[in-house]
């Protein structure tokens, strides 16, 4: 694998072009590579001294549990994303991190990050950009839950994942492979699993998207964008590259 082919390198490359030396420093973060099985949480709500990770392969869900047992998935992570970065600084982690599939991830200590930044200062700006982008995605998700209908939410979500996956080369405009069950979608979108099923059926019957057997397939991309009111500028990934 060439250096630039790591998902994180691809993603950061959309923000700023990275030199060979900078890619090298980035690669240094991928020592301590680990594998985790689906369903075994990496990070637990309330626990302290947790590590952060860079996800290399597979899908992950970050979620919170409520006293009554309900759960809300805050975001999914895909290759190239950070996991639990906030819990490095915080007194205790305020959320859980669960692999949706079998995953591969590199453990990252605060000191690793600082070392990399010293080697390649441009990297610090790029990572800060990635973190701000994560926050912007959480904000957009909040807007979905507060002000979009179930159908708009689903459409918006499927489109956001497409844009994010495209950035790391795992999707194109026709669709992508998606390992999420309808239960996971329900917990992310603030719906019941039954309603998720109905919404997906309706979107399919309207000829907009088909999500079946682990594959999301856009039948009418522009129609879906219109329905969702999807505007990808919050992902900040359409800019002309800085060089």
């Amino acid at each position: 694998m060439r250096l630039a082919d790591s998902p994180l390198a691809r993603k950061l490359g959309a923000y700023v072009a990275l030199s060979e030396a900078e890619l090298e420093a980035l690669n240094g973060l991928h020592r301590r590579r680990r594998r985790f099985e689906a369903g075994r949480d990496l990070v637990l709500q309330g626990q302290s001294h947790q590590s952060a990770y860079i996800l290399a392969e597979g899908w992950v869900a970050s979620y919170k549990l409520l006293p009554d047992g309900a759960r809300q998935i805050v975001d999914f992570q895909i290759p190239g994303d950070f996991l639990g970065l906030r819990s490095i600084l915080f007194h205790a982690s305020d959320h859980n991190v669960e692999p949706v599939t079998r995953i591969e991830a590199s453990e990252v200590l605060a000191s690793d990050l600082l070392d990399a930044f010293q080697l390649a200062p441009k990297l610090a700006a790029a990572v800060l950009w990635a973190v701000s982008r994560d926050e912007a995605m959480v904000v957009e998700h909040l807007v979905s839950l507060g002000r979009r209908s179930a159908e708009e939410r689903m459409a918006h979500f499927l489109l956001e994942m497409d844009a994010r996956l495209q950035l790391v080369g795992l999707a194109d405009r026709t669709g992508y492979d998606c390992p999420l069950s309808q239960y996971l979608l329900a917990d992310a979108l603030g719906l019941s699993a039954v309603h998720v099923n109905r919404v997906l059926r309706h979107l399919r019957e309207q000829g907009l998207v088909t999500f079946q057997k682990g594959r999301v397939c856009f039948d009418d991309f522009d129609g879906l964008v219109a329905l969702a009111g999807f505007d990808a500028t919050y992902l900040d990934q359409e800019r002309p590259l800085l060089r």
Copy 2:
């Protein structure tokens, strides 16, 4: 006013005790103090090269607008909070910032922050903590919209604002002054203004909280905490002080 009395100093002081020199550096951020009238937005969605601010007095709402004109308030800011910090780094601001009351705020440039961090490195950690805390609040808000009922949402919101205001000395366990209209509450909680009114009435009739004439008054604090399932650990402000 003694140095430690600025709201930001009070807030950061809950994370780490600050020396006189550090308070001095923090104070340096309060040059360029400005006043803004209620309703005249400071930062606009889609605009670039925006400033960040530290809020010194008054309340502010950060929100996003949807194509159909609906709006979702992401968070309110109170004295001691940063405004639009994310839009310093980002290509264009992805949200609007509107003063709810007449406010006073100090404009902060990226270079000001870096200067202050150089003068007082402990400040960098404290600011990073504040930013992470902001993100944790957005996440908890998202959980509210996704998985809590209207009544739980309202209760949770009123309790969160109490905890935050206490940290800067603007509230106690009995209540606080709150300039938010029911329309603003509705746009924050993902409800209609009519339903906000009904929810407030019901909470009042249950003897839990009274929110009338600009004042939130807790009639049964513990009962409200129980109803909301409120657990303030995500605010990370209960820790024993680091010295």
